[in-house]
Amino acid sequence: MIQTEKLNKIYKQGKLKVKAVNNVNLKISDGEFTAIVGPSGSGKTTLLNCIGGLDKPTNGKVTIDGEVISSYPSNKMIKFRLNNIGFVFQAYNLIPVLSAKENIEMIMLMQGYDKQEREQRSNDLLNEVGMGNMSKRRPAQLSGGQQQRVAVARALASKPKFILADEPTANLDSISTAKLLDIMSRLNKQENITFIFSSHDQRVIDRARRVITLEDGKIITDKKK
């Protein structure tokens, strides 16, 4: 369970103070497939950054399974992210010098998995996202959609409690978007993996089972389908 209580994030822009997240109270249960939507500058990314522990809230709390992670010191937060949160980035952000398989294995290496387990899991995950036959290719040899599928596999590799995906389909064509959403939806249903997206892509919104709309850092609507 992910919970935010009176979450605020204020940025300073010169003398101006900008409330990117404004008093957000939110509960996301395990196994949800949630989209946070809203126009540019509405605070979607900042809210995800706070939930993922990349940004510290100005005040308020982020609690994950009862642990208040918003008060964690930097090093503890890094370890928490490694073992509990999967990230999918808009620009894929794979390491260009590693193959698809090595990109997936790397996060498991950080966690200390042995070689056999890494091999097994990375192969399984690549097959899961339909990239089993491209495991040795480097990111430059893959299309955007293929890279994003590898990124999803990498996010899953650490066996996270939930996956945060910021605009995962923003750089993809419609076919790649459909494939990616199919994969994530299947993983959510079959393996009960929690997905939280930020997006303003209608195709993502259509597939989400819960849609939270933000405006000026505040939750305007919260609809479950």
Binding site: T45, L48, L54, R81, Q90, A91, I95, L109, D166, E167
Partner: protein
């Protein structure tokens, strides 16, 4: 995460921008090459200067009477020379020795007068100790049957306009303190490679000295060549124990300036190379900072997914060290090939002959470089690379993952 993965990522990262990495690698190779070749030149110049001095006149060890060393008086000959000779003949560390008389006098001819050091030698024995016989450029090395012949240095010959068979007069104070003059004819002209020595020293036969100075009964100087220069100090101390009246000196006691240069050269070279490599380090720092700037997003992503700052630091350090690890073998190899080639072929520096001769150095340099310089300079490059990596690595650690990735 284990170190092997970090090493693997670091290694691959340096080949992401091949051109940039190759520029740094080439600059390290050139820096290393330049440093090693200059070290080799300096060591060779110093060694050649030292060897010229030892082979031409110093030998490894010289024995004098203590009083002679202080006053340079003709009467202060070496006491009990037979027992010293017996010791020298039986000692396996002694390769050869000779006996010299030494007179400080004034050499004159129609052109002018000049203060010289007259070294009386037994030509056959002196051949075994010093190499003046090999440096004759005009005339002969004591082959004439005439009694009073002399060989002079090229510089002195030019100064006094001396030709073969020219007559010269040497005036000096004899044993009784009276001024005595002896007439000699020039039999040969030598060029030792040390113009200062050639300017001040002449060789005559001991027989000529003894026949003209019947009161002089002994020798003033015993130059000794050892079988191995490392034995010099031990032999010197053993010879000193023969008698307190002896003044036994090794070459570095006699030619203090040569010994000082020899001791200082290593420190000087390392300081010089450190300066060269410090200059190089700025290039490395600049390249790594550019690499980090380019990969800001990727580093931010690594931090986001859970790579600690310490691992980020190590990754950047590995990348920098790898650049030097690639460059070092090439730098050492081409330096070694160059030194090896010129150790046989020699570098002809005859265009600066007169300048080199003033320092007692020949015109052809046969390069040499002790192996420890290759090793130590290689280590120094790795150390400098590591130090150069610290600043970029700290910059990488300070990257804010949120700003770097712009989004999660």
């Amino acid at each position: 995460m284990n170190l092997i993965t970090l090493i693997k990522i670091g290694w691959r990262n340096i080949w992401r921008s091949r051109k940039r990495s190759l520029v740094v690698i080439f600059s390290i190779i050139l820096g290393l090459y330049g440093g090693l070749i200059i070290a080799s030149l300096m060591i060779t110049l110093n060694d050649q200067r030292m060897n010229t001095a030892i082979k031409t006149y110093l030998a490894d060890i010289q024995i004098h009477d203590k009083k002679f060393s202080e006053e340079y008086s003709l009467k202060d000959t070496i006491y009990n020379i037979q027992s010293i000779e017996e010791k020298l003949k039986s000692d396996k560390r002694v390769k050869s020795y000779s006996k010299r008389t030494v007179i400080n006098g004034m050499l004159s001819n129609a052109t002018g007068s000049y203060g010289v050091n007259v070294l009386g030698i037994n030509p056959e024995n002196e051949i075994k100790v010093t190499s003046v016989y090999n440096k004759i450029i005009e005339g002969d090395y004591f082959t004439s049957k005439r009694p009073n012949t002399m060989i002079v240095g090229k510089k002195l010959a030019d100064k006094l306009n001396l030709q073969i068979r020219s007559k010269v007069v040497i005036a000096f104070q004899d044993i009784n303190g009276d001024i005595t003059s002896l007439l000699f004819r020039v039999e040969g002209v030598f060029k030792s490679g040390n113009s200062m020595f050639d300017d001040n020293n002449v060789f005559v036969k001991n027989n000529s000295i003894f026949s003209n100075l019947p009161d002089l009964k002994g020798y003033h100087e015993i130059p000794i060549l050892t079988t191995n220069s490392n034995l010099t100090e031990v032999l010197k101390s053993d010879l000193q124990n023969i008698s307190n009246s002896l003044d036994v000196k090794s070459w570095d006691d006699i030619a203090v300036e040569l010994a000082y240069a020899n001791k200082m050269i290593s420190s000087f070279l390392y300081i010089f190379m450190l300066i060269v490599l410090c200059g190089l380090s700025f290039g490395i720092i600049n390249t790594m900072l550019m690499a980090i700037l380019e990969r800001k997003k990727e580093i931010g992503m690594l931090m986001s997914i859970g790579m600690t700052k310490w691992y980020i630091f190590l990754m950047i350090c590995f990348e920098t060290i790898f650049l030097s690890l690639v460059a070092i073998p090439f730098g050492i190899l081409i330096s070694y090939i160059t030194v090896d080639y010129f150790s046989v072929q020699g570098i002809d520096l005859s265009i600066v002959e007169s300048g080199l001769e003033n320092f007692g150095i020949g015109t052809v340099l046969y390069l040499k470089l002790p192996s420890e310089y290759y090793f130590n300079l290689g280590l120094l490059v790795i150390l400098i690379s590591f130090i150069s990596s610290i600043f970029p690595a700290i910059r990488a650690m300070k990257i804010n993952p949120v700003e770097a990735t712009k989004s999660i």
